[in-house]
C-alpha cells in the first residue's frame, strides 16, 4: 500500500509516485490528442453556420410541423418493403451464418489451422463494413431496388450472427456431446442431437436480436437507392418537403419501437 510520510504522519495514497506519473503522462497525451482532433474539426467548420444553427433549427421545426398526415397512404408499400428487406435478409444471413459458425467454433471446426482462419476472415470482413456500404456496392453491381437491400442486409448480418453463434457453440456442455457419441452416433447425428439442442435457444435469440437491428438499418437503406421507406425519405428531403419528412420519421420511429418490443417479448419467452 503506497504511504507517504508528511510532518511525521503517515498518509495513505491511492497510487505510488511512479504510477501517478504514468497516469499523468497518459492523461496529458490523451488531452493533447483530443485538442488536436478538435482543432482539425474546428478548422473544417464554418462557424458562422454553427452560430446561426438555433435559428435554422427553429425554421426547420416550423416547416416540419404539423406532419402531413394524409401522406401516410403512400407509405404502406415502402414500409412493407422495409420489413421484407429486414426479414428476408435476416433469414438468408442465418442460413449462411450456420455453416460459417460451425467452421469457426474451435470444438466443431474440421481444421483449426486452415478452415478456422477463413471462417474468421469471413466474419470480420462482413461485420466491419456497414450495410449502407454493402448496399452502395450491390446497387452498382445488380442495380437499385429491394433485392439489393435484401442482399446487403444479408451479407452484413452474416458476420454478426456467425460470431455470436460460434461463441455459443464453443460454450456448449461437452458431456452431452460425449454421451451421444458413446451411443455410437455418427458425426451428423452428434451434431443434430448433441450440439443443436444446446445452441437452439441462443440461435433463436440471435435471430430475433438481429432482426430488430435489421429493421433499423433497412429504414435508411433507401437513401442510397436500395428500396424501403428510405427512398421516400430521400425523395422528400431532396424537394425539402419537411412535413413529409416529419411523418416519415414518425413512421420509422414507430417501426423501430415496435420491432424492439417484439424482439424483447420473443427473447423473454425463449430465455
Amino acid at each position: 500500500m503506497p504511504v507517504r510520510e508528511a510532518e511525521g504522519q503517515k498518509l495513505w495514497q491511492r497510487r505510488t509516485g511512479r504510477e501517478s506519473l504514468a497516469h499523468w503522462v497518459m492523461w496529458l497525451t490523451g488531452v493533447a490528442v483530443f485538442a488536436y482532433c478538435w482543432q482539425q474539426i474546428s478548422e473544417a467548420t464554418t462557424w458562422f453556420f454553427v452560430w446561426d444553427a438555433p435559428r435554422i433549427a427553429g425554421d426547420i421545426w416550423t416547416r416540419a410541423t404539423p406532419p402531413k398526415w394524409e401522406y401516410i397512404t403512400q407509405l404502406g408499400k415502402p414500409i412493407w418493403d422495409t420489413i421484407n428487406i429486414a426479414t428476408l435478409g435476416t433469414i438468408i444471413a442465418l442460413i449462411l451464418a450456420i455453416p460459417v459458425a460451425f467452421l469457426a467454433a474451435r470444438n466443431t471446426t474440421p481444421s483449426v489451422l486452415f478452415v478456422r482462419p477463413i471462417a474468421l476472415l469471413i466474419i470480420v470482413s462482413t461485420r466491419s463494413i456497414n450495410s449502407l456500404i454493402w448496399a452502395l456496392l450491390l446497387i452498382a453491381i445488380i442495380g437499385p431496388g429491394v433485392f439489393a437491400g435484401v442482399v446487403a442486409i444479408a451479407i452484413r448480418s452474416i458476420g454478426f450472427c456467425a460470431k455470436l453463434l460460434y461463441e455459443a457453440i464453443e460454450e456448449i456442455d461437452e458431456t452431452q456431446v460425449e454421451a451421444i457419441t458413446a451411443t455410437g452416433a455418427s458425426r451428423w447425428q452428434v451434431m443434430a442431437y448433441g450440439i443443436v439442442p444446446q445452441i437452439l435457444p441462443a440461435f433463436a435469440g440471435i435471430a430475433v436480436f438481429r432482426w430488430d437491428i435489421n429493421i433499423r438499418e433497412s429504414t435508411v437503406l433507401g437513401l442510397v437507392g436500395a428500396g424501403g421507406i428510405g427512398l421516400q425519405l430521400s425523395a422528400s428531403l431532396n424537394v425539402l418537403a419537411w412535413p413529409q419528412v416529419a411523418l416519415i420519421l414518425i413512421v420509422i420511429l414507430a417501426a423501430v419501437v415496435i420491432s424492439e418490443w417484439v424482439s424483447a417479448k420473443v427473447r423473454g419467452a425463449i430465455i
Binding site: 426479414t87 470480420v124 449502407l132 452502395l136 445488380i142 423501430v256
Partner: protein
C-alpha cells in the same frame, strides 16, 4: 405419482425429439403464418434477373479488384478522408464517453433519485431510437456540411449506447463495498469515486473500446450524407465504377477495424 405415469406411458414407444415449441397449436400457427408471410414477401419483391445477370460481370470485376487494390491514384483523397474519419471517431468517443458517464449515474436506480432517473432514461431512449444516419441528415441540415455534424452525430449515438449498458452495470454492482465507503463518512463524490467507480471501471473500459470500434465503422458511412469522413470518397469511387480504389478503401476500413478489435481484446484482458 404423475411422473411415474408419464414414464409408464413412454415405455415401449420409440423416442422422438421433443419439439422446440411445446404447445402444438402455437407451433403450427407460427409455422403456417411464417410460411404465408414468406410467400407474400417473395411475391412483392421484383427482381430484374436480366439486370442481375448483367451485373455479375461487374461483381466479378469488383471481387478481382480486391486482388489489385489501387491505393495510389487517389491516395490524397483516401488519406484526407481516413484522417477525417479517425479524427471524428476520437473526438466523438471522448466527448460521448465523458457525457455518458454522468447520464449513466443518473440512469442507475440505486444511485439516482426518481426524477433524475426518469430524465436520464428518456435521454437514453431518444438517443437509441434515432438511427445515426437520420441524426446525421438533420444535423447536416442544421450545422452545414463537414465533420462537425458527424462528430455531433457520433457523440449523440455514443451517449445512448454507453449510458444504457453502464447504467445496467452500476445497478448490478455489489452494494456491500459501496456501503462500506459510505460508512467511513465519505461525501457523495468520494462515495462514487471509491465505492462505485472501481467496480464498474473494467466494464466501462471494455464498453468504451467497443464503442470506439463502432464509431469508426459508423464514421465511414456518415460521408454519404455529407457529414465528413471517408464515406464521401467511397461513394464517389462507387459512382465512377473505380472498383480498385473502392477495394483499397474497404481493405483499409477492414484493417483498421481488425486492429482496433485486436487492441481492445488486449486492453480488456489486461483490465479484467
Amino acid at each position: 405419482m404423475t411422473t411415474h405415469r408419464e414414464l409408464d406411458d413412454m415405455l415401449g414407444k420409440g423416442w422422438r425429439k421433443p419439439p422446440f415449441i411445446r404447445r402444438a397449436w402455437l407451433r403450427y400457427t407460427i409455422l403456417i403464418g411464417f410460411a404465408a408471410y414468406l410467400v407474400a414477401a417473395f411475391l412483392t419483391i421484383e427482381v430484374n434477373w436480366a439486370r442481375v445477370y448483367e451485373g455479375l460481370e461487374r461483381g466479378k470485376q469488383f471481387i478481382l479488384a480486391f486482388t489489385s487494390p489501387d491505393f495510389t491514384s487517389r491516395s490524397g483523397d483516401i488519406w484526407d478522408g481516413m484522417v477525417e474519419s479517425i479524427i471524428m471517431t476520437v473526438a466523438a468517443s471522448v466527448v460521448g464517453i465523458a457525457i455518458s458517464i454522468p447520464i449513466a449515474l443518473g440512469a442507475a436506480r440505486n444511485v439516482a433519485p426518481l426524477p433524475i432517473y426518469l430524465a436520464c432514461r428518456s435521454i437514453i431512449a431518444v438517443s437509441r431510437a434515432l438511427q445515426e444516419i437520420i441524426v446525421a441528415i438533420l444535423l447536416v441540415a442544421i450545422f452545414g456540411f463537414g465533420p462537425l455534424a458527424g462528430f455531433l452525430t457520433l457523440s449523440f449515438a455514443t451517449i445512448g449506447f454507453l449510458s444504457k449498458l453502464l447504467a445496467e452495470d452500476i445497478e448490478s454492482m455489489d452494494r456491500v463495498q459501496a456501503e462500506a465507503i459510505k460508512a467511513s463518512g465519505a461525501r457523495w463524490l468520494q462515495w462514487i469515486n471509491y465505492g462505485v467507480q472501481p467496480q464498474v471501471m473494467p466494464r466501462l473500459i471494455g464498453l468504451s473500446m467497443y464503442r470506439i470500434d463502432i464509431n469508426f465503422r459508423e464514421s465511414a458511412i456518415l460521408g454519404l450524407v455529407g457529414a465528413g469522413g471517408i464515406g464521401a470518397t467511397l461513394n464517389t469511387a462507387f459512382d465512377r465504377y473505380e472498383y480498385d480504389t473502392a477495394a483499397a478503401i474497404l481493405l483499409l476500413i477492414i484493417g483498421i477495424v481488425m486492429a482496433l478489435e485486436y487492441l481492445s481484446g488486449i486492453i480488456r484482458a489486461r483490465v479484467q
